[in-house]
């Protein structure tokens, strides 16, 4: 006997505990199953691209902090690289190495939140989340030591850094790097083989390889689908070609692979940091750059492998002190485009898990 059923629309967000900010998903549900899903964004739009046109090249750096506020250092790096490309400035060697160290530390911090929040979305009662926040806290301590703030660092400058690292930084970093692998092993013991987590994430929300490439996904989301694509290898910046590291990839492209890729990337980041610390040269951290940079008219695009994917800054200069146009290629937004294809047919609970596994920051999606 076929019962008459009726689907209904359910608004998930913008005020919902697991939308990682103010994201809204208008889901059409058939019982518990998602029949259709429409993402709605724009609740956190602040017009950063437009604001950037009114500020000096240096004055935009604090704005980039506020894009992906869980990875401010990476945003700074991407923007600064774009301006340096545009104005044909090169940073000193020491600054380049420091940038690598900081970007990789930032990647660990961002992945810790990504994994923690993802497991929280799976329903764990904050325990992995808090364990990971503990380690992130240590990274934030280091960043605070360098830049004076814990979230919005504003530390990188065009042509280097605004000030050199303090003496106590490297010992503390050394201690962190030696401790961290033990903690990652602990997360693995806590989560990697957990049957419930496996049941919730294995085979769930598969992003096929061709779809991932077609939507130009990047970062762990792309790599979990089995594509070995990492800008640090494909188009090395900041001398990433001098370091030895692997690109972890997944096979199935499901939520579990995305989680595993992030955990493995943390280990690789630690490897890079160790190498960079050994090779760190002394010298200046900033090349001589006029306070008001006036790049020649033209355009430049610089991209880095941010924790969430390819973060690119496209800058157009008209030879004035402010960018004529600043466009941001935000990985969160582009990775989100496959959300509908990944979720339709799964259950409400899976929707949250899949959404959490993409790891977005609304500050970057809406800009």
């Amino acid at each position: 006997m076929a019962l008459k059923t009726e689907s209904f629309a359910l608004n998930i967000g913008p005020l919902h505990p697991s939308t990682h900010g103010v994201f809204r998903m208008r889901a059409v549900l058939d019982g518990e199953v998602i029949a259709n899903m429409e993402p709605v964004f724009g609740y956190l739009h602040r017009g950063i691209e437009k604001l950037a046109e009114e500020r000096t090249y240096t004055g935009v750096i604090p704005l980039t902090d506020r894009l992906d506020y869980l990875a401010s250092m990476s945003n700074n790096l991407a923007y600064v690289l774009a301006v340096e490309k545009l104005a044909e400035i090169s940073a000193p060697e020491r600054a380049t190495y420091l940038r690598v160290i900081l970007a990789e530390l930032q990647r660990i911090a961002s992945h810790l939140i990504a994994v923690g929040a993802f497991v929280n979305d799976c329903g764990a009662f904050f325990t992995p989340f808090l364990y990971m926040f503990r380690e992130r806290e240590k990274i934030l301590d280091l960043f605070e030591m360098l830049s004076g703030q814990r979230l919005l660092y504003n530390y990188m400058r065009i042509g280097g850094f605004n000030q050199d690292i303090p003496d106590e930084f490297l010992p503390a970093l050394q201690k962190f790097v030696s401790q961290m692998p033990g903690f990652i092993d602990e997360y693995d013991r806590l989560l990697a083989e957990n049957e419930i987590l496996l049941a919730r994430t294995k085979g769930v929300g598969i992003l096929p390889q061709d779809l991932a490439v077609n939507i130009s996904a990047s970062g762990p989301v792309l790599r979990a689908s089995g594509v070995k694509w990492d800008i640090r290898k494909a188009d090395p910046y900041c001398g990433y070609d001098r370091f030895e590291f692997d690109i972890p990839t997944g096979t199935a492209g499901d939520c579990y692979d995305r989680y595993r890729v992030r955990i493995e990337e943390m280990r690789q980041s630690l490897r890079i940091i160790e190498q960079a610390m050994k090779q760190l040269p002394s010298g200046a951290v900033k090349s001589t750059v006029p306070y008001l940079v006036r790049p020649p008219a033209g355009e430049a695009y610089a991209h880095i492998e941010a924790p969430k994917g390819e973060l690119g800054f496209y800058l157009v200069s008209d030879n004035s002190i402010a960018p004529y146009r600043c466009h941001i290629r935000a990985p969160s937004l582009i990775n989100l485009t496959a959300l509908r294809d990944m979720t339709v047919g799964w259950k409400v609970a899976d929707l949250i898990v899949i959404f959490g596994s993409i790891d977005i920051t609304m500050g970057e999606v809406d800009r």
Binding site: R55, T56, T58, K138, D141, E144, G148, L152, L191
Partner: protein
Amino acid sequence: MKFEHFGTGIIKGLAVTLRHLFRKPITTQYPEQKLTTSRRARGNELVWDITKCTACGTCAKACPQGVIRIVTSAKPVENRYVVEKFEVDTGYCIFCGLCVEACPFQSLLMGYSYERAKYRRHEVVHTNEMLLPSAKRPASGYMYPKLAKALPPQTLLIERDEVKG
């Protein structure tokens, strides 16, 4: 989708959480216990050295938010401009520190204190004397390594949390 390891993973996870039960909590009970902030802390409020300021206005130009307002008198005294009004609207300030970096005469510093919340909106606008350094509003070592050396070292979680997993 199987119970791949018939519950061993769950038991391992339970062991991890059980071990954490015997670790020292990392909580800092804020109002009573306070962590020392970074020596370069970009704390609330700017600190202004009136004797060194020449009212050149570089800080005001560097500010991305347009928060700093300087009014100088037209009549110089002892061959210097006299600052009539140096106003910082900390309500709009984003504490990026660009003004401190820009100051060529080392007369503008970031504050080291934090708990500076106010009850009224007009109180967040600081003018002249309110910006001067005092015991309550020390200056931080942001961009000034010599000042930073004098400040107490930052408390790091990594120093406290010794237990390895």
